[in-house]
């Protein structure tokens, strides 16, 4: 049963993440905490572990379709490696309850941002 729910959460988060351009962690972390009672830190670590291979798959597909700007991606990646490491270190140094509250705020901000996309597009956004 647990395996089935994990599969379903993975499938929905994976497709949402790839389609909306979000990593999927915004879904994995709350799902792991609320449905499976993982600690905040375990949920975040597990989320990052899932994100690596899924984003590799998504990148291959996007890249084949010619949508990836590799020159810019390389520069972004340079900063991202340093930022990702520092962010993880900061998270591990924090209390779980503090991190959880901050994550709650992040969820609200993300949902509010995404609200704009819930209306039918009046102008084409495709490029």
């Amino acid at each position: 049963m647990t395996a089935l729910v994990l599969l379903l959460v993975g499938t929905s988060a994976g497709s949402l993440g790839a389609a909306l351009g979000i990593g999927g962690g915004i879904i994995y972390v709350p799902a792991l905490v609320t449905l499976f009672s993982l600690t905040q830190h375990e949920a975040q670590g597990t989320s990052l572990a899932i994100i690596v291979p899924t984003m590799i798959v998504a990148t291959i597909v996007h890249s084949r379709a010619g949508r990836t700007e590799w020159r810019v991606a390389a520069l972004l990646g340079l900063g991202a490696v340093v930022g990702g490491f520092l962010g993880a270190q900061a998270a591990l140094a924090m209390e779980a309850s503090t991190l959880r509250k901050m994550f709650g705020v992040l969820l609200v901000i993300t949902a509010l941002r995404m609200l704009r996309k819930t209306r039918r597009a009046t102008q084409p956004t495709n490029d």
Binding site: G21, Q44, A49, V72, A80
Partner: protein
């Protein structure tokens, strides 16, 4: 040169948020690319997805060495997630982004409520 420094700065900020919250950083990366580096939505998504690999790889090392990765849960979710990511990226143009976003907003608000109320 300006583009290069902008890109590295954006990577650093998005990477920090992505590592801090275990989410990857696309929340910052995508709007950053669109608003600051003047990318179109689809190119921003595709490029963001590529850089999230770097964020998550850098972040997961720290969590794994602290024993904060539950590989048993990760394994099952991964199977579903890879299938989902393939479908999502492959059919990104055909899926109704509006309905995806609607579902996403409802689930996220519900999760936020639980996080803020019960912690």
């Amino acid at each position: 040169m300006i583009v290069a420094s902008k890109a590295i700065t954006l990577g650093l900020v998005a990477g920090f948020v992505g590592g801090l919250f275990g989410v990857g950083g696309g929340i910052i990366m995508v709007p950053g690319l669109v608003l600051w580096l003047e990318f179109g939505q689809h190119r921003a998504h595709a490029t963001s997805v590529a850089t999230i690999i770097a964020v998550a790889a850098a972040g997961v090392v720290s969590f794994a060495t602290d024993g904060e990765v539950r590989w048993d849960y990760a394994g099952w979710m991964l199977i579903g997630a890879i299938a989902g990511a393939y479908v999502g990226a492959r059919f990104v143009a055909r899926i109704s982004a509006v309905w995806l976003a609607r579902g996403f907003v409802v689930v996220t608000f519900a999760a936020a409520l639980r996080f803020l109320v019960s912690s």
